[in-house]
């Protein structure tokens, strides 16, 4: 620590990164998990896994590295047995009075539509569309070929087009 005279110390750089990017990372995590508590847990896990290697990471592209850890952690979680829980009710019981607002309707529709995708489709779609990563970067993050990313993204979009929950929201945009 403290060997680099130009860049801030790893500890400071890590703090700056977390302060600057945690909200964006949480948004990505929410699109993957559909739950803010899980999203926070996922981001914290990804950051905790990245921190010990921060000295090396910060010289390259820390955000890409953290997102790669985040996405792979999430995919690992999905493979775990206890993550195989099947939510029985579409709505959480603690829904606020604003449950019927347009914002909530959109959120539920998108969450439901994303839940209908496979894990890999959802990962590709979120990284490619929401995080605006290139197909090459997505392929590197997921450890697959660029062609696989293209075909997976196309399949995901095709499935979303058929999803009736999004049809009402996107009909004027003719998705």
């Amino acid at each position: 620590m403290g060997q680099d005279d130009v860049a801030p110390a790893p500890d400071t750089a890590f703090t700056q990164f977390v302060l600057g990017r945690e909200q964006a990372l949480q948004r990505t995590a929410w699109l993957l998990t559909g739950d803010w508590a899980l999203a926070e847990d996922l981001v914290q896990t990804a950051l905790a896994r990245s921190w010990p290697r921060w000295e090396r990471i910060r010289r390259d592209d820390p955000e890409f590295y953290v997102r790669r850890v985040l996405i792979n952690t999430w995919l690992t979680w999905r493979r775990r047995r206890w993550r195989g829980e099947l939510p029985f009710d579409p709505l959480p019981d603690s829904a606020a009075p604003g449950d019927l607002s347009a914002e909530t309707s959109v959120r539920l529709a998108v969450r439901g539509a994303l839940a209908g995708l496979t894990d890999r489709q959802r990962a590709v779609l979120v990284l490619r569309v929401f995080d605006d990563m290139t197909e090459t970067a997505v392929a590197e993050a997921l450890g697959c070929a660029v062609g696989t990313v293209k075909s997976t993204a196309a399949q995901a979009l095709a499935r979303l087009r058929k999803d009736p929950r999004l049809a009402g929201l996107m009909e004027r945009e003719t998705l």
Partner: protein, 406 residues
């Protein structure tokens, strides 16, 4: 980025909104430290396990039938919990129905009022998501008893269903309840539901006030009022169908039943009544043994008790200690482990200073006795969660909560 991509991104942005909380760097660092400690501990445990592996395996087979074993001890906190709730105001009102049912005692004695609900939810302990819903198999005329749930091992529970029509008869002095096994799949859905042998209860003036089961489900204990102001406790052997009756005094109230893992000792909280309507204080933690013998509750051994305390207790699987949830108005909400023999405090698991009113809801231990759900109302707010390292980890609530088990 194509047009469709842009439109979709806009929609995703709209759906995501703002995260409710910020992530703090210290929290990440604590997680790193915990991870290192866990990794180190895992390495040490692995070395120790290899060293003593042969002995451990031998001991496991030797003790396979041992009644004192805690079958879930190594599996961490329970994955699911059951929640009986009226679920009011959640948007699910069409499916959640509650009713005030009055069953009169013989000869028009004071009525017993109870709340019934068909909302028995299975929730994930980790995410709070509803993963299953349990209804009584007989159909629409049957309701889940608000306090009739108890947990046994392997994601299995005992659930009490009560027959509505009998309870609604104006002069009914009996109602019928049936006990069922409910087994959950790994996904949290209900995998199977079947009647408990000998689990038909036909003498209740009201519903059950409490139910408990041994971890292996061999013994199930339940408390109820026969309808004349008295309260009895029965212990059912689910293998033989035999039942032992513990007859209460003429006036009394008993709740918070718990059994040791061998089913030998039954611990409960009671309020010896000084007169009608004066049964709430002092609350006393008591035990009877052997539970399968039956007899008079008046002969119960007193473990602990204190005037003005609201108390709810759960005995440990080996019977050596009792975990007690107490509330002293204007004082504190505490969970303490006490020695069963002397009543002396062994350890304070949780303590929260309270100003204002406080009402104890319930204390529910998992089959290992390690993991505890605590429920209380503090200054008008419902406190509901499970204990971990002295902290209360919140559990998802759903409407008006009556009881939980895991």
């Amino acid at each position: 980025m194509s047009e469709i991509d842009s439109q979709l991104r806009e929609l995703l942005e709209q759906a995501v909104g703002e995260p409710p909380r910020h992530i703090a760097v210290p929290a990440v660092r604590r997680r790193v430290i915990r991870r290192r400690i866990t990794d180190t501990a895992a390495a040490v445990i692995a070395v120790v396990a290899v060293a003593v592996g042969g002995t451990a395996v031998a001991a496991r087979f030797t003790n396979a039938s041992g009644a004192g074993a805690a079958p879930n001890a190594a599996q961490g906190s329970p994955r699911y919990y059951l929640q009986v709730t009226a679920n009011a105001g959640t948007g699910d009102a069409g499916r959640e129905v509650t009713a005030q049912v009055t069953a009169r005692g013989t000869g028009g004695r004071p009525a017993v009022t109870m709340t019934l609900s068909d909302a028995l939810l299975v929730r994930s302990s980790r995410t709070g998501a509803v993963t299953g819903r349990i209804g009584c198999p007989e159909g629409a005329g049957w309701w889940v008893d608000e306090t009739g749930i108890a947990a046994v091992i392997d994601r299995t529970f005992v659930v009490a269903c009560i027959e509505q029509p009998a309870a609604l008869k104006p002069d009914a002095d009996t109602t019928v309840e049936r006990l069922f096994w409910v087994r959950l799949a790994a996904s949290g859905r209900v995998a199977a539901m079947s009647p408990v042998p000998g689990g038909r209860i036909a003498r209740t003036g009201g519903g059950l006030t409490s139910m408990a089961a041994t971890p292996d489900g061999r013994e199930v204990a339940f408390a109820y009022s026969p309808g004349n102001g008295r309260m009895d406790v029965e212990v059912l052997n689910t293998v033989t169908g035999q039942r032992a009756l513990w007859r209460g005094p003429n006036l009394g109230d008993y709740w918070g039943l718990s059994l040791t893992s061998d089913g030998r000792e039954l611990v409960f909280t009671g309020a010896p009544c000084l007169g009608v309507g004066r049964c709430s204080s002092p609350a006393t933690i008591m035990a009877v043994s052997p539970a399968s013998r039956g007899g008079s509750l008046a002969s119960a051994q007193v473990i602990a008790g204190d005037e003005n305390l609201q108390t709810f207790a759960a005995v440990s699987p080996d019977g050596s200690t009792v975990t007690v949830l107490t509330a002293l108005p204007g004082g504190a909400l505490t969970v303490q482990r006490i020695w069963a023999r002397s009543g002396r405090v062994l350890q304070t698991l949780y303590s929260r200073p309270v100003t204002g009113t406080i009402t104890v809801g319930f204390l529910s231990a998992d089959p290992t006795g390690r993991y505890l759900i605590v429920n209380a109302t503090v200054a008008g707010h419902n406190v509901n969660g499970w204990l971990r390292n002295g902290r209360l980890i919140p559990l998802q609530l759903g409407g008006s909560l009556y009881s939980e088990a895991w």
